[in-house]
Point group: C2
Chain length 274, copies 2
């Protein structure tokens, strides 16, 4: 077991009941009122990848943040719902014990895994031309939540506004990123990095309003071998909103390796207060 904080935070022990895993939230990945959502999503991936019945590698993940995850122990249930020769569909839940002693669901998720084959391939979303990672400056932010310190983030476009003055602008952010300290990329860390983008509504409006992800979907276009090739290299992440309405906005996101391989695409729906 690696001593990296991410691996420590993701530790899951097989539970008494079939398909269950026991874990506990980690201070290293704490956000404002709960864990960093990317970490919680990574727990679903980790549970499936530790399951003895696993077939293949993750290709699709959806997590739904159903309620606040509180500090302390939790149970992840990962059940294979259907297995074919080359694909497998999983249903996942993360539960905690509520103050009355009853289990309460904090996250639901589905994951599809598959044996990855070599096929015709193409990238219709080429990596944008941006400042190279060596010329980009590491972001330091006073008063940011703890989990920010677990990533080396180098914004090249759409950094969080220096002044929240209500000036409306584009919702595009581009940044180089990797784990801090560096850690070889895997499906769990790629899952978490798909959620590093701060709320688009802050950038779009130059206004801080209460906001939090309610659902996130990520497709993994890379194989484990391709993730191993990236190693501790940086990823370029890009996120952009599509619509803001009725207290929810969505964003699409892409994550490329430094050599331009599109490793993952992601989308999420985010609650905002006003």
């Amino acid at each position: 077991m690696s001593h990296h904080p991410f691996d420590q935070a993701l530790q899951l022990m097989p539970g008494q009941a079939a398909n269950t895993f026991a874990g506990a939230t980690a201070p290293d990945y704490w956000n404002m009122v709960g864990p960093f959502g990317g970490y919680t999503a990574a727990l679903a991936v980790r549970a499936v990848m530790q399951h003895p019945a696993l077939l293949g590698e993750p290709v699709a993940l959806t997590v739904n943040y159903a309620g606040a995850t509180t500090q302390g122990p939790f149970t992840v249930t990962a059940t294979p719902a259907r297995t074919s020769r080359s694909t497998q569909h999983w249903v996942i839940a993360l539960s905690q014990t509520d103050p009355t002693g009853q289990p309460e669901v904090a996250m639901t998720a589905t994951i599809m895994t598959a044996l990855k084959r070599d096929t015709w391939h193409a990238n219709d979303m080429p990596m944008p031309v941006v400042t190279p990672v060596n010329a980009a400056t590491k972001d330091r932010r006073d008063g940011a939540p703890v989990w920010f310190d677990r990533y080396d983030m180098r914004f090249v476009h759409g950094r969080s506004p220096a002044q929240f003055d209500g000036r409306e602008a584009s919702s595009v952010t581009q940044l180089w990123m990797r784990d801090e300290p560096p850690r070889p990329l895997d499906f769990a860390s790629l899952t978490a990095m798909a959620d590093v983008f701060y709320p688009r509504v802050w950038l779009r409006r130059a206004k801080r309003v209460a906001a939090g992800t309610v659902s996130m979907t990520t497709y993994f276009h890379a194989s484990q071998a391709q993730l191993s090739d990236v190693g501790t290299g940086y990823l370029l992440g890009q996120a952009q909103a599509q619509a803001f309405r009725h207290g929810f906005f969505d964003q699409t996101a892409q994550l490329w390796s430094e050599d331009g391989t599109l490793l993952a695409t992601s989308t999420q729906l985010v609650y905002y207060k006003e």
Copy 2:
């Protein structure tokens, strides 16, 4: 109950067990080896919207096509996993009886519903300028699956290649569409229309290979009141692939009303054979 084929196909009867609904596949929405996936996804939405515990309206949907749905009866299970004051998270499965008499899961899904409030709003994905619906020609296609006849589709860009000659091209499709015969728009029909786009890999490569959606996520930016405003009007749909690799490609999609309101955004992962 409307006599429209879509409403007939979506009929669900409350089952004996809590949270269950009984239905049957409909010949009107048949695809090549199973029902049109947009119809199957709409069943998840319909089950939740018929559930007596429903809070609010759909905001996020993910469906996973875990195995082939065969002609005949099925059971939809829709369980509220967590309910707050203004949001609700659902876990859904569609099952059929396998040849040995055991239940087998054909689809898993999650839905988030919420009370929709008026807030600051913006559209960062404006409707593209295209041929108006009145000037677009209704698509007729010999040998297309039955469900094609249930939609009035008017392609304005990226129609299926006239010749499958292996010439690689853009993966963008834009089309006007509505139910055939016309039917007032609701969340179920909007869900189905987010899946009308034929496989991007056919367009991108001008080559027909076996392909089928394995997972789809749709975010509903419109309220029921906005859908009612659309009525039987046409929607403009746009779909575009991002990456093709390891036998799966993804696409992003947007659906606008004729007046330019972004009603829904969607993404899906599609299996392709070679």
